[in-house]
């Protein structure tokens, strides 16, 4: 007989982790569903694109504007590509208003003086702003003529300031990099939210279906939670891959149909940036899945748990990444680029927009790896003591107590 400790690492723990990971992956990642999902996405994209195109085409409508008074403006100079101006100075104003109400015309315009004009419309259409700009130009012309300026003097006055742009950075931020950064962050966010859904189903569902006990009698709780984190992260990464490829495919189709430059994205991608993006994406997905697993392990019933709100936490780094687009070199954003909970989204955004030292990238990666390890251990320990608790959720005090007691 041998006295044994109650905690143990079974030989073949890695095999058990992979087995659970494979099971979780196969449980939720169904090729048939994925194909169906991709097809529907394409269908929606085609429908969305078609409707958008139709809306854009229909917005070419020319606005019909009845002018009751031209004031100091010459009739021929009142034109705009989106509007047709009709001389209605002889038509009674009331009948024009009646036409406006019956939607026969879009507006009635009266230019009362060089400085004042009035327009009657149904509602507050946005194109009035465009008309305002044209009226400003006409007023400006009128005033210049009033002061008897030569055409050269007039052109000189309205000429814009010549601003030469000189970029002192050696590398130029390419449009492709920006596109890549935006797409990568969006895909990672998608993977994290998929993890949110699947971790809940996988962990709380098994607790409720009373499957947990027989599994943790076969393998160590840490192996079980590691397998779940890996398997569900793999689903997220598989989705990133599928939808990434789908994005490229759509881009190529757009190129073939409309001749846009999207296919050049592949040629313009900085390989180093791509490697960092991929590493950060994988680690980011693993980290948040570990975090979500830890939260899910404390939840007894996801329908009534207040902890469900914690699952929205991963959206914060993405928000910070958007702040980084405007202030990539600020101290706060620099720190967020290293800070493990935000680095996976902020660091790639910074790398696209500004110069980031190699050591900063390395620090961010190392810290991220450390936090992934810490979170998975945390999830394993929380799970180990909470798996048998039904009907109530452990409090923070309890969790700290058990975390300290765990192996």
């Amino acid at each position: 007989m041998n006295a044994v400790q109650q905690e143990q690492s079974e030989p073949g723990k890695a095999r058990a982790v992979l087995q659970v990971a494979k099971w979780e992956f196969n449980r939720f990642f169904k090729i048939k569903s994925m194909i169906s999902s991709v097809v529907w996405t394409l269908v929606f994209m085609v429908i969305g694109g078609g409707v958008g195109y139709w809306l854009a085409a229909s917005s070419d409508e020319t606005f019909q504007i009845a002018v009751v008074d031209y004031g100091p403006i010459h009739q021929d100079s009142l034109y705009h590509e989106t509007a047709q101006f009709h001389n209605r100075t002889e038509v009674p104003f009331d009948s024009l208003l009646a036409s406006l109400q019956q939607r026969e015309i879009h507006a009635v315009l009266s230019v009362d003086s060089p400085d004042e004009a009035r327009i009657w419309t149904q509602g507050e259409p946005g194109w009035v702003q465009v008309l305002q700009l044209r009226l400003d130009e006409l007023r400006s012309d009128f005033k210049i003529r009033q002061y008897d300026l030569t055409e050269e003097a007039h052109a000189d006055i309205i000429a814009p300031m010549a601003l030469e742009r000189i970029n002192t950075r050696e590398t130029v931020v390419s449009r492709a990099d920006k596109v890549l950064a935006g797409v990568a962050i969006s895909l990672v966010l998608m993977a994290v939210f998929l993890g949110f859904a699947y971790q809940f189903t996988a962990i709380t569902g098994e607790k409720q279906q009373r499957i947990t006990e027989q599994i943790v009698s076969a393998i160590h709780p840490q192996a079980w939670i590691d397998g779940k984190i890996l398997g569900i992260s793999a689903i997220g990464l598989a989705n990133i891959l599928v939808y990434g490829i789908l994005g490229l495919f759509v881009s190529m189709m757009l190129y073939l149909v409309f001749g846009t430059v999207f296919p050049n994205v592949l040629l313009m991608i900085n390989p180093m940036l791509l490697i960092v993006f991929l590493s950060m994406s994988v680690l980011g997905v693993l980290m948040w899945n570990s975090f979500l697993a830890a939260v899910a392990a404390t939840i007894d019933d996801p329908n009534s748990s207040e902890r469900s709100a914690l699952m929205l936490l991963p959206t914060l780094p993405v928000l910070f990444a958007f702040f980084a687009l405007f202030h990539p070199d600020s101290t706060a954003i620099s720190i967020m680029g290293w800070f493990p909970l935000t680095s996976f989204a902020v660091m790639p955004a910074r790398m696209v927009l500004t110069e980031v030292a190699v050591w900063e990238v390395l620090v961010a990666l190392i810290l991220l790896v450390a936090v992934v390890w810490l979170f998975r251990r945390l999830a394993g320990r929380i799970f180990a003591f909470s798996m048998m608790i039904h009907g109530k959720e452990p409090g923070m005090k309890e969790m700290v107590h058990w975390f300290k007691r765990a192996e």
């Binding site: 041998n2 044994v4 905690e7 659970v20 279906q209 499957i211 943790v216």
Partner: protein, 304 residues
């Protein structure tokens, strides 16, 4: 095979298991019995490495241990609270649950198919678990616990959810497992089945051992090996029954019928003579006390 030494486990203020010591010998069916809340499941979970004892030791046979740790692949477990993945096919479920303990997938599949055939589920192997009846789901659960041919299997309520025919079949399977070298720790409330298959029995009461031994030994220690069932022509008061010499206990059955449990050293004739003096006897027979009676005698007014 396994030995518990002064094992204790408390949940907040409740002492679920209190200085419990017992051993399960290799190749036996050992029944752990007790009323609800006696600490059976806590004890089982500690043996299965799911929770840790607060005090005491749990020792396993050397071949169950690797690097000072219990080899979970040698353990089989049918928990009391059990469930399966409803949307997963039967065979896939078995291969997954069995595969967590056993690496030979080919051998597992062969075993799984044999078990399914035996339990009449071979043609349902590709069906989702949710399409099976409760009894068939229980069969799948049972198979999952022994599929990898464990050295030591803990079966917590293995008969629950089964009709009498399937209960008989499961008890046959448990005996067969024992005969093929698997040591079994059993917990169940079906006393008539347990008394037929268990080699030794431990009655657990509030986390402590009440009595342990073979059925005959615990009969002798608790109620009596013999039982006299007697029917009187007229009503006999409980006080008169209590005053009988050489009677350890008696219980009133329907009407004027009584079950009487004599002390071991008393002759049957002495007891019968006293009984006949109480009132005319219309019927009498003797038998051995069953586990059900032992259980009731031991835990009367305790079970909830």
């Amino acid at each position: 095979m396994i030995e518990l030494e002064s094992v204790c486990k408390s949940y907040q203020r409740v002492k679920a298991v209190d200085a419990l010591s017992f051993s399960v010998k290799e190749g036996e069916i050992f029944a752990l019995l007790g009323p609800n809340g006696a600490g059976k499941t806590t004890c089982i979970r500690m043996i299965m490495q799911i929770i840790q004892p607060d005090e005491g030791l749990i020792r396993f046979d050397d071949r169950m241990v690797y690097n000072g740790k219990v080899r979970r692949s040698r353990l089989g477990y049918l928990p009391e609270e059990r469930g399966l993945y409803p949307d997963t096919p039967v065979l896939d479920t078995l291969l997954y649950l069995g595969g967590l303990r056993h690496s030979d997938q080919k051998g597992l599949k062969q075993n799984a198919l044999e078990w399914l055939k035996r339990f009449g589920l071979l043609d349902r192997r590709k069906d989702k678990i949710s399409t099976l009846s409760k009894g068939n789901q229980q069969k799948v659960q049972f198979i999952a616990s022994v599929l990898h041919r464990p050295d030591f299997a803990v079966l917590d309520e293995p008969f629950s959810g089964f009709d009498p025919i399937n209960q008989e079949m499961i008890s046959d399977v448990i005996r067969e497992l024992r005969n093929n070298g698997t040591t079994i720790l059993l917990s169940a409330h079906q006393m008539q089945l347990v008394e037929r298959i268990a080699d030794r029995i431990l009655l657990l009461d509030s986390g402590r051992e009440r009595v342990c031994g073979t059925l005959q030994e615990i009969r002798a220690k608790t109620i009596s090996n013999r039982k006299i069932s007697v029917r009187f022509e007229e009503e006999v008061s409980i006080d008169k029954m209590k005053n009988l010499k050489g009677v350890r206990d008696s219980s009133n059955q329907e009407g004027n019928s009584w079950d009487v449990y004599p002390e071991e050293q008393f002759e049957l004739n002495q007891i019968l003579k006293q009984l006949s003096e109480l009132a005319p006897i219309t019927d009498v027979n003797t038998s051995e006390s069953g586990l059900h009676e032992i259980f009731l005698h031991s835990f009367n007014n305790k079970s909830n």
